[in-house]
């Protein structure tokens, strides 16, 4: 029997598998490590949905508007409409599989999050991702027991199996196998749910080391299009810990935390002064950029502080207990009594595998969902929209497969699972990964310009000409090039992409960036966004 092959077992992958299983369709859930270790468990602050439980007359249309505006009108409005109008159902689904969201008077309560005027973020203290994942994993286990989900939790994706421009399956490797060269071919439609591109910036992101970026790089090399690859989110509040950036959740500001910098010896609450409406809760791109600029002012010291000393005791015990513990552990300082020094850090990748609103890629038979895609967030993601996008996207991709008839349930012509032993590409060398990362960081900072981007591109080229590289390394070069070229070609400033040589946004560029590999070179084009359908 032909099964659906899902690569990645975080929120997107699990949600796709559950949706398929609920419809009687079997899937294989392939991931490097079990779901319990996916980046999704790290999510802290919450998940958005206009369930309107706070008496603020919230509705999906507001969520739609905030999401589109937060992404500076660069997302597909129809996709965003699906997402935001589908959000309440997702939150209620999670509630119904037993997620212990913070509740009061028998219903879920919501908190403020960046870029949103109304309280719309459901949460479980400040470990929302972990708590949601535990329930979703249990739900998937139900179908695992009935044979509809087959987990392959120590298996690495290597490449797509393609034929005449169609995706026919995937080639994977069992990392627990003694034979380092053994590969397994799985046939059937594929949904990629492999997460963000952390591995391009080792040690510099808030996420997991598991998401190496190799999947996106490999499929790009195989002809899959990328969307908005230049859009990298810097989160305003992170702290440096051994080996990575550690996130200080936006919920800290949602619950009343304030940002300040010392200016001429006095505390300056720069966000509150500049943005009297949303203050510290402006979208992340704006906050990160403001921090970047105030830190460079002559009259300011170079450290920005997050002041949470004004939060009341109940907030600490009921809503942010985990955050407080974490900060005490890593900084040796209690945020309840001491403002903490924070800095911008790479947190999320808005860009990724290009999909339509139904989560199809340009290859028939290949779908993608979750952070590995370019879907929903445009030029900047709002906090709380990512878990939502992963769950909704996973389910949507599954529904597309169900309704498109691509899954026939009949035997495939080829053997379903073929084990061959042929050498596959070695992992990329850590030294090369580090060098590419330095080049990318130099070009793709919070503030970018033509000169810097050209310099990075030429350094990348020089590095590539130094020696022969294995397939995996070659693919990484192409992905890095796509990100830099996207940023170079987008001659405007929009969301996370700020060009000091083009500091304004330009309506001409209110389009999706599309990266394609043609004849070994990266080609960038801009695609007009669809109009919002009339209801």
């Amino acid at each position: 029997m032909s099964r659906i092959n899902i690569i990645g077992a975080g929120l997107a992958g699990l949600s796709a598998a559950i949706e398929l299983a609920e419809n009687g369709i079997a899937s294989r859930l392939v991931s490097l490590q079990p779901s319990e270790r996916a980046q999704s468990v790290l999510a802290e602050g919450g998940i958005n949905g206009a369930i309107n439980t706070m008496g603020e007359n919230d509705e999906a249309e507001n969520h739609f508007n905030d999401t589109l505006k937060g992404g500076v009108f660069m997302a597909d409005p129809n996709a965003v409409e699906n997402l935001t109008y589908g959000a309440p159902e997702i939150i209620r689904w999670l509630e119904g599989i037993g997620v212990p969201f913070n509740m009061e008077n028998g219903d879920i309560i919501l908190r403020n999050f960046g870029g949103q005027k109304k309280k719309r973020t459901a949460y479980a203290r400040s470990s929302t991702g972990k708590i949601i994942m535990s329930a979703v994993i249990d739900e998937a286990r139900k179908y695992e027991a009935s044979g509809l989900i087959y987990r392959m939790p120590h298996h690495e994706f290597l490449r797509l199996i393609t034929e005449n421009g169609e995706c026919k399956g995937v080639r994977i490797h069992d990392c627990y196998s003694n034979d380092k060269n053994s590969v397994i071919d799985l046939y059937g439609p594929v949904i990629l749910c492999s997460g963000g591109l952390n591995g391009l910036f080792p040690g510099m992101t808030t996420g997991t080391t598991q998401n190496s970026g190799d999947v996106t790089a490999a499929v790009f090399s195989q002809g899959v299009l990328l969307g908005n690859p230049e859009m990298v989110q810097y989160h305003p509040t992170t702290i440096g810990i051994t080996g990575k950036r550690c996130l200080v959740t936006e919920a800290a500001r949602g619950e009343g935390g304030r940002l300040y910098i010392m200016r001429n010896g006095e505390k300056w609450y720069f966000m509150e002064e500049k943005y009297p409406e949303l203050k510290n809760l402006m979208p992340r791109d704006v906050v990160a950029r403001e921090m970047y600029f105030v830190r460079r002012r002559e009259d300011c010291e170079d450290k920005v502080y997050l002041d949470m000393t004004g939060l009341d005791g109940k907030v600490w015990s009921r809503k942010l207990s985990d955050l407080r513990e974490e900060l005490i552990k890593y900084l040796g300082e209690d945020p309840k009594t001491t403002p903490i020094n924070v800095k911008e850090g790479i947190h999320y990748f808005m860009g990724g595998i290009d999909t339509d609103e139904d989560h199809r890629t340009n290859l028939p038979g290949l779908f993608a969902a979750g952070e590995c895609t370019c879907q929903y967030h445009g030029a900047n993601r709002l906090g709380g929209n990512s878990m939502l996008g992963a769950i909704f996207g996973g389910k949507k991709a599954a529904r597309t497969i169900i309704s498109s008839g691509i899954y026939t349930g009949e035997d495939t012509a080829e053997p379903d699972e073929k084990i061959t032993a042929e050498p596959f590409s070695e992992p990329a060398s850590p030294i090369l990964i580090e060098r590419i990362s330095e080049i990318l960081l130099a070009g793709l900072g919070i503030v970018r310009n033509e000169e810097g981007l050209r310099k990075s591109l030429s350094e990348l080229e020089t590095l590539e000409s130094e020696r022969e590289y294995c397939q995996r390394e070659k693919s990484r070069f192409r992905l890095a090039e796509a990100m830099l070229r996207g940023a170079l070609e987008r001659r405007e400033s929009r969301g996370a992409h700020y060009r000091e040589d083009y500091p304004d946004k330009n309506e001409e560029y209110r389009k999706a960036t599309v990266a394609e590999l043609k004849g070994g070179r990266v080609n960038i084009s801009f695609r007009t966004l669809p109009e919002r359908r009339k209801k």
Binding site: S134, R141, A145, Y176, I241, G243
Partner: protein, 245 residues
């Protein structure tokens, strides 16, 4: 800071394990075992104290902030998360012994196959069969029960757990408490029975598991709650039927 890392290596399933000592130096006072392993692997040019080249040391990691359980291993004979083990805190006389967890089959070096944990959760039917809501009244228990990292540290020290046995240990008792806290009526009997069989009955309640849990889960609290629901309720019912407790 200088430390000597004594690492129990094993190149593949079934091959003979051997010890390898590596002198490791770092300027980061807060460096962890995870950071040291990463450094050594990234450098690729370390030699051990017997002047042998150090090949890639396999170990699992993901979050690097003690939230995913991937990097559990024995560090100076104590089950811990490598990313939560500062060199300066775990070294003893300048030495840190690093071994794979012992209750699970070794795959390679420090990587062990913990799939028995997932199997046990499946055997115990840990899921809601129908709509279930964890409201405010049970929210705290459900929250705590959702926090288990599935790292396996508790199983390592549990005198009663062994892979393949009928007692599944804290790594199952904790997630079970989430289920028990909000279990729908239709599933109650079965869930309680499974819990008694694979949790309650085999546990000696020494709580050796509590102090090693890197997530700091209050295991005793959860045990008391689950037992009250799944074990003592049953007795109450028996009492109602006129039988003696």
């Amino acid at each position: 800071m200088k430390v000597r890392l004594d690492i129990l290596r094993c190149e593949s399933i079934g091959s003979k394990p051997f010890w390898q000592s590596i002198d490791y130096e770092t300027e980061d006072e807060n460096s962890t075992v995870a950071a040291a392993l990463t450094d050594i692997n990234n450098s690729g040019s370390y030699i051990d104290t017997e002047e042998r080249a150090v090949s890639h040391i396999s170990w699992e990691c993901s979050c690097l902030q003690k939230k995913c359980g991937a990097c559990a291993m024995l560090i100076n004979s104590y089950p811990r998360l490598a990313c939560d083990s500062k060199l300066k805190e775990v070294r003893r006389n300048g030495v840190i012994r690093i071994e794979p967890l012992k209750k699970f089959p070794v795959v390679r070096d420090l990587v062990v196959d913990r799939s028995i944990m997932m199997e046990n959760l499946k055997t115990m039917k840990l899921w809601f069969q129908e709509y279930a809501r964890a409201d405010e009244t049970v929210g705290d228990i459900a929250y705590e029960g959702s926090r288990c990292l599935q790292c396996g540290c508790c199983l390592e020290v549990c005198p009663n757990f062994y892979s393949g046995g009928q007692f599944f240990g804290t790594a199952t008792i904790v997630p079970a408490s989430r289920l028990i806290s909000a279990v729908p009526e239709s599933q109650r009997k079965e869930v309680f029975r499974e819990y008694r069989k694979h949790g309650y009955e085999g546990c000696g309640k020494s709580l050796a598991c509590r102090s090693v849990c890197p997530a700091g889960i209050d295991i005793e609290d959860l045990l008391v709650n689950s037992n009250a629901a799944a074990v003592w309720k049953r007795r109450k019912r028996k009492l109602k039927n006129g039988k003696k407790d």
